[in-house]
């Protein structure tokens, strides 16, 4: 039982946290509310409480969104990005997962050194090797292609390390039992290892999705054709266009935020578990 004093303290804490979260929510609410307004209304409401309240439902309520989705290629950019993310999630799980499995379970010379090198790779910022990636992709003539965009993005040292940490705690006797059940190594990886490590698979998928969704630099280097562009580049080109209104800008930003919010709210448990645990409680 909590004492009266503890109860009061709890209430005060809740109120402080509520105020703090509102503080972070205000910009989002402001963005959402104003994305339904015309520029005149936005300016008029700017210094009043109305700035946080959407306009009344009327015929032109969704105008900004309709303009963005019909007059620009933004919808296509979003679909493109989802497509790239899907491919990269699948390939990333296969490639990084297999690498993590090898580093966790297969004995070969200097294995621990390899793990160390992969850990060290995380220190290198992506931007520093981007030029090298770009030159290589250009040299093999893959600029402005989906393959050219995807290839350098597949391998991710952090994901390899995450997989390795989880796989290392998988019991060896399950593999031995599977061998006696006529299950080969690759089949074992796909039908046993991955299902036994659902949490880390979910975590890596979410991270990969967010990586792809939020990436700006690499797609802007690789892609020149407007048919292949990603949402972030689309966002930039739409918002920097002089003809775009402030309401439309806010509508684009809202659209680009929605998938991230959905993913976070669906997988928040897995993200936390995947990063904090080693997966040993699985099963």
């Amino acid at each position: 039982m909590l004492t009266k004093k503890q109860k009061t303290a709890n209430w005060i804490l809740v109120i402080i946290l509520l105020i703090a979260s509102l503080f972070f929510l205000f910009p989002v609410i402001w963005m959402l509310a104003n994305s339904f307004k015309g520029d005149a209304a936005i300016t008029a409401d700017m210094n009043t409480i109305k700035a946080f309240i959407p306009p009344a439902l009327s015929g032109n309520f969704f105008d900004n969104y309709i303009t963005i989705l019909t007059d620009t290629k933004f919808l296509k950019y979003m679909v493109n990005t989802l497509f790239y993310a899907a491919i990269l999630i699948v390939l990333g799980i296969i490639v990084n997962g297999l690498a993590g499995y090898a580093l966790a379970k297969i004995k070969f010379p200097f294995r621990e050194r390899w793990v160390l090198i992969i850990l060290l790779l995380q220190i290198v910022p992506m931007e520093t090797i981007l030029t090298i990636h770009f030159l290589m992709i250009a040299k093999v003539g893959l600029l402005n292609t989906v393959i050219g965009y995807i290839l350098p993005m597949i391998v991710n040292p952090f994901n390899i390390f995450l997989f390795r940490q989880v796989f290392i705690s998988l019991p060896d006797d399950v593999y031995e039992a599977a061998q006696l059940d006529f299950c080969g190594p690759l089949k074992y990886f796909f039908t046993m290892v991955l299902p036994m490590s659902k949490t880390v698979v979910a975590t890596v998928s979410v991270f990969t999705f967010l990586n792809v969704w939020n990436d700006y630099l690499w797609p802007s280097l690789v892609f020149t054709s407007s048919d292949l562009l990603t949402a972030q580049i689309g966002l930039n080109s739409i918002t920097s266009n002089d003809n775009t209104t402030m309401g439309q800008t806010l509508a684009v930003i809202t659209l680009i935020t929605i998938p991230v919010i959905i993913i976070y709210s669906l997988f928040s448990k897995q993200i936390v578990e995947g990063v904090t645990s080693t997966g040993s409680k699985e099963g």
Binding site: P171, D173, E176, A177, F182, M192, M196, G283
Partner: protein, 366 residues
């Protein structure tokens, strides 16, 4: 040729100073239930894992059903294995766990169902067949592991301490179930355990190992009655055999603390070549406290003060110090003494074992 033949099998791990298993030679007949038993680190699991193919054999030859299998992959050796930690597939139901091997063997679905039904029925898992391993108790999990092994109709079952994670009561009932299963299926079984009671109660023959070397192989009662050395004598039987440092001179046996016993002629004669310092061993139940025996061997009646008692109900263990060693006598429930009581007893003369002090070999069993 025997069904499984191990010829001078050796195992030496990389960078290890000595062999984990040395010159292990054994013939196992078809349908036999054989137990490898010994303290931890004695090489029993390593030997089993070499038979399974999970450990490389560094020396010697292994034959299963007439075929040399040293380099054969585990799955092609015709074996099924039950692991200490069950090794079930956590994301599959009981039914899927049991049928997984058959599925990979491309057995038709109908056939799989039939076999899984049979296994589930024989192991009493019907009500759990759609559960996942995490929702099962230890005993149920081990039954699933057994089910997985029996459906595949393999030639050999290997069991690596399958009951060591279960509580005492469950262990006894699973022991019976495994024995029953073996009688029903008649599959050649190699069973590794550190528990000599399991080995004694289940196996047709027992292999006792120590430091990677086979000490003795034989039927449970042979090992119990005729241990080849002090290690086997001490390992088999509970409570452990009592050991004393003695000096034998003719018919006279003198204990460390100066107490003397006269040996019967037959024993003295057999020891005639082994005069001097020896180790004498006698089992708790061969220390007799009843009147009849005390009367029979009255010249050798000894005395001691009871230091501790273990009341089991059907029988009781009395602890006392005699001849410089802590001694345990196993007496019937009618012969219970209290702590501090003066105890009169005799050593059953024909039940004494004598071991060489240096080699620890049983002199009378040579």
């Amino acid at each position: 040729m025997s069904f499984i033949e191990l010829k001078k099998i050796n195992k030496k791990y990389e960078n290890a100073e000595r062999n984990s298993v040395t010159d292990f030679t054994l013939n196992i007949e078809e349908k036999e239930f054989i137990a490898f038993v010994g303290p931890s680190g004695c090489g029993k699991s390593t030997t089993l894992r070499m038979i399974a193919g999970f450990e490389e054999i560094t020396g010697g030859d292994l034959y299963i059903d007439g075929k040399r299998v040293n380099e054969t992959a585990p799955k092609d050796r015709g074996i099924a294995m039950v692991f200490q930690n069950y090794a079930l597939y956590p994301h599959m139901t009981v039914e899927k766990n049991i049928g997984y091997g058959l599925k990979n063997m491309k057995v038709p679905a109908e056939e799989i169902k039939k076999k899984v039904d049979w296994a589930v029925d024989i192991l009493g898992l019907e009500e759990y067949r759609y559960r996942k391993p995490k929702n099962l108790s230890g005993g149920q999990r081990q039954r699933v592991a057994l089910g997985r092994a029996i459906v595949k109709n393999q030639k050999v079952f290997l069991m690596d301490e399958p009951l060591s994670n279960l509580d005492a009561k469950l262990r006894v009932s699973m022991r019976n179930e495994i024995s029953k299963l073996h009688r029903q299926l008649g599959t050649t079984t190699i069973y590794v355990t550190h528990d000599q009671v399991e080995a004694m109660t289940m196996a047709d023959r027992i292999v006792i190992m120590k430091d990677g070397v086979m000490q003795q192989v034989g039927k449970p009662m042979d090992l119990y009655e005729h241990p080849i050395n002090k290690f086997v004598a001490g390992f088999i039987g509970s409570p452990q055999m009592n050991f004393y440092n003695v000096t034998v001179k003719g018919e006279e046996m003198t204990f460390e603390d100066g107490k003397k016993i006269t040996l019967p002629d037959v024993v003295a004669e057999r020891l005639s070549d082994h005069q001097g310092e020896l180790i004498m061993g006698i089992r708790g139940e061969d220390i007799k406290v009843d009147e009849q025996n005390r009367e029979l061997y009255k010249a050798n009646v000894q005395q001691a003060i009871v230091e501790n008692t273990e009341v089991m109900g059907n029988e009781n263990n009395l602890y006392f110090t005699y001849g410089g060693s802590l001694t345990v006598a196993r007496v019937s429930k009618y012969e219970l003494s209290q702590m501090g009581d003066k105890l009169e007893f005799v050593f059953s003369p024909t039940k004494m074992h004598f071991f060489d002090k240096e080699t620890e070999e049983n002199i009378l069993e040579k």
